[in-house]
Amino acid sequence: MSHASLPILLEDRSRFDWMRAKYEPVVRAGPTSAIVTHCLRAAPSLESLLKDGSAKWATELRCPKTLFCRVDETSESDQRVEWAPEDVDGDLFVIPGLVAASDLTLQTDVGELSPVWPNDSFSVRRGWWLARGLARRTRTLGQSLLKFHEDRKLPNGQMRIQPDSSTENLRFHVQLARDIWPEHTNRHVQVAALIGALARLKDAFASEEDEPAVAHEIRRRLEAAGIPTWDDTDAYDPARAATAIEPFRPSVKPESNG
């Protein structure tokens, strides 16, 4: 089965098979489930395959660390996928798409496909990804970086942060005193912890060559926002960096001035 012989609609449009069609999934993920809203635009031939049931929405779940992998399918454009918390550790990736649920014929309208395709009709075997979305992590960058623990030896109201060196991924252990431990899911506590972690970021790896992927992603986001990174020791502000990635959110709406 040749992997290059059939058109595929990619979310990032890195292939030019389809002239106008777009696949624009939206994924909203929580700790044990995600809602995937699949969305096709300007792809009547793919929509007709969905209507007749020969194509289905499919979402792949993949957790590399626990070797967990599953593909769930549905005919509904809003798809709920769930997983047991005990089946995953670290990052879980959600990869949405549209799959040929049976052997089918893809019959495209004139002009749907790029002129590079001489045909407008294709025999597609079951399993072919007709459309494929980008892989998304289920955790935010902040959640990936921090792991919270209760520390009964810490005096009331205190927090401590240490880099975690047991994993090749960048991570920090955040220890909270007993009295504030119940608030560890509070966003303000999490942002405060993120500020502390970014203050210690440079301690967590030996050199730029060793920079983990998460640090690289943080660097990329800061540079895109014009915010100094930890390379510039004079200008680097961990509070600014952290809140650029995970902003504080006001708990009270501002009063109107009218």
């Binding site: 626990t66 070797l67 967990f68 992998c69 550790d89 799959v99 090749e168």
Partner: protein
């Protein structure tokens, strides 16, 4: 296992491991900084080695202290299935013992915990304190040494960390390969998964035989799933690989890691544009078998590899 115990230990585990090892990638051995680090690390290594030599009670106390556990805190680890393992059984569990442990632990150990080195270290504390690893006095043979050689403190320490759950220097593969008890669980788990996903083509016992046959091949099999860019994570893909390997094992008496790698590449190519959960089994078989080179079907000599092999040390990772 008791969650609060895991939580406490997890918070300090990484720093404790790091404090015990001289990282030659970070520091030049003969530089001032390297010498200073070695001067800090060596006494900690000696403390660990002495604790091992002093026996189960001393080692349990040492580990509890360094992991932030109270001296009498219940750990609640899954029990070993035999009153005491021999050194050979521990260092290289036969397939029957792996199956015995796997069956006993299947419902007691989750995927999440099984992938965590700190979990297996806590199990070791429990087993050591209950004197399940040999008779008193020979813990060194289990945890520090290999055969009759007397390596330096760095090697002994690394052996200890590998065997009791995995060492951070070896990344994600360590818990699957270096800790033999964790490896037993994973092989049993995957053999069940493969049998269920094979559509009747592969029995659990056959799958386990394949996974147990050759350590480098096992590591390659797992590593290709650990890297998310290689789309062979789906159980049906694993089943296709093991089905082919079973045939080779039967006809040639052994398997090679290159065969696993080629099959993984073949399936990854298929998985780039196809859902491996949906394609026909014939397509999976074609992808696995078609990617093999004919000169890779010669049998391997021997199925045991040395513990400190460098195939998948982080420096050499492909």
């Amino acid at each position: 296992m008791i969650e609060s115990v895991l939580d406490k230990a997890e918070a300090v585990f990484g720093a404790w491991q790091r404090g015990l090892v001289f990282e030659s990638k970070r520091y030049r051995k003969h530089s001032d900084k390297g010498q200073a680090v070695q001067e800090k690390v060596r006494p900690r290594q000696n403390e660990l080695i002495c604790a091992v030599r002093d026996g189960p009670a001393a080692l349990g106390q040492y580990l509890r202290q360094h992991l932030g556990l109270d001296c009498d805190e219940d750990i609640g680890a899954p029990a070993l299935t035999r009153p005491a393992l021999t050194v050979n059984e521990y260092l290289d569990p036969p397939i029957e013992l792996e199956a015995e442990l796997g069956r006993a632990w299947m419902d007691k150990v989750s995927l999440r915990r099984a992938s965590q080195p700190v979990f297996w270290l806590l199990c070791h504390i429990d087993w050591i304190e209950r004197k399940r690893l040999g008779a008193a006095g020979d813990l060194g043979q289990f945890l520090l040494l290999k055969g009759t050689s007397e390596p330096d403190s760095e090697t002994k320490t690394r052996n200890f960390l590998r065997r009791t759950g995995g060492i951070f220097l070896r990344g994600k593969i360590s818990v699957f390969s270096d800790c033999t008890m964790a490896r037993a669980w994973w092989r049993f788990h995957l053999s069940r998964q493969i049998a269920a996903a094979s559509g009747g083509r592969v029995s659990r016992e056959t799958a386990h035989r394949v996974l147990h046959a050759n350590r480098p091949a096992w590591e390659t099999f797992v590593l290709d799933s650990l890297r998310r860019i290689v789309a062979v994570s789906h159980p049906r893909a694993r089943a296709a690989i093991v089905h082919q390997l079973a045939r080779i094992l039967e006809s040639h008496g052994g398997i090679k890691k290159q065969q696993v790698r080629h099959m993984g590449i073949g399936l990854a190519r298929l998985g780039l544009r196809n859902s491996l959960g949906h394609v026909d089994r014939s397509a999976l078989t074609d992808a696995a078998s078609g990617a093999m080179q004919s000169d890779d079907t010669r049998p391997t000599s021997g199925t045991r590899s040395t513990e400190n092999h460098d195939d998948y040390d982080e420096t050499n990772r492909v």
